[in-house]
Subunit: 280 residues, 2 copies
Amino acid sequence: MYTDDKGFSSITIAGLGLIGGSLAKSFHRLGIKLYGFDMSTKAINTAADSGIFHGLTDDIELISEFESDLIYACLPVTPCAVFLEDLKKLGIKTPVTDGASTKSSVVKAATGLNYCGGHPIAGKEVSGFENSDGNLFKGAFHILTPTADTDPYLCDKLETLHDAIGMKVARMTPEYHDRVFGSISHLPHITAFSLVEAVHEIDDNAFGFTGGGFRDFTRIAASNPKMWTDIFLDNKDNMLEFIDIYIEKLEEWKKNIIDGESTTIYERIDKARAIRQRLK
Amino acid sequence: MYTDDKGFSSITIAGLGLIGGSLAKSFHRLGIKLYGFDMSTKAINTAADSGIFHGLTDDIELISEFESDLIYACLPVTPCAVFLEDLKKLGIKTPVTDGASTKSSVVKAATGLNYCGGHPIAGKEVSGFENSDGNLFKGAFHILTPTADTDPYLCDKLETLHDAIGMKVARMTPEYHDRVFGSISHLPHITAFSLVEAVHEIDDNAFGFTGGGFRDFTRIAASNPKMWTDIFLDNKDNMLEFIDIYIEKLEEWKKNIIDGESTTIYERIDKARAIRQRLK
């Protein structure tokens, strides 16, 4: 049971979109009192209709008037960094966490706050509070990214909080987080976008013959452009390194096909299959 | 209703694996009499257990003794071409079709037979008659690849047959087939294999944090190595051209990320998303 003395009794959700709304609905079930901030009146109104917030504002200066013991920034990378800088300017002493998809730059922006970064690993192709879901995070990973400056007590409380909503919590440095998710999330998005672009260039009519396999494979190509632009640019160094490694693999495939190296091709497929089958 | 006078009354399935077995189960429901050929005793025994075959043999010379009005080769590309050559040597006059995944070389091997190529677009990650499924092809595409030499009457009868088991039938040249499926099936497999290889090289521990999205995206990496080795080598020229186009897209992503071209990145994601959303 999530109790007041070990946990947070009140949380301010900053950013009332899909992630913020889904976290709010999850936290509400734990009996946590909720406040909300968003610059969009539409988001405020949708959140108000849910009836789970004790207070809502579109004015960042009013956040300090909410009696919350955690501010949870649920914003894309670039606005998240701006928001954290603004909290510093306002002299906010309340503990802060966030859910941005890349961590290195956000963690730097938070220097000076009582802050521990995080990243709930879940999402949908749709966005907005209206699509939020209190079950979105069940069984998913939550990555905490404490640094040497992080209060260990805050990090532990955040672990308990996310554990209480059914998440698997792991801890890693912000830099390692950006390498891990650069490789298993950001690189796959680049490969899916590039595949859709390549087929479009080869023969747009070919899309007419695709089935469930191709749709599964390119599902992640239907992602929010603003969010992903920020992610690629914020995780720039890893992206460039990883795309190069990926292109090397493709060049090796070309070489194997040109040379008709059937044994090598068989072994590469067999090895990729074995790695993939571990994931089941 | 699939009737004897417009359709086939008896079919010999050559190759009693997943595809051959699934087609056999589909055709059985239409009341078609079935015969089977496979060089593997295990496959013959599994097929015999299904109770849907009137005759089974592992001796290709005995196929001519089956009273069937179609031979359907359900074999991977390379053994399929060998089988078609063998039918020619045996002087088989029965109409022949096949389901191999690439068509150009198979169609060439069939010259001299009463033949029309085809490709049922469905599959599973598992193989063998024991995993075959009479519903596998429902709603899927069947591509017929007639040439100037093909008897139009055979092509029409094959269209009626596949339509009767719930498939969407399309016709294209063997060469165009190999371009279409090179782009929407063979290229995606190369990209999935390469992605699994790249993540393995970057940090094998990263796989531990993957979720449903990554599993969906790399599902096709868990494919039969023998079958896919044949496909890549048989569709060599298209593969080399398409991998080059794909690498060009990746190089453009690298350039956009290096130069911080957020507007271009946004527009590329937005366009890929729009194309992908048409597929729903």
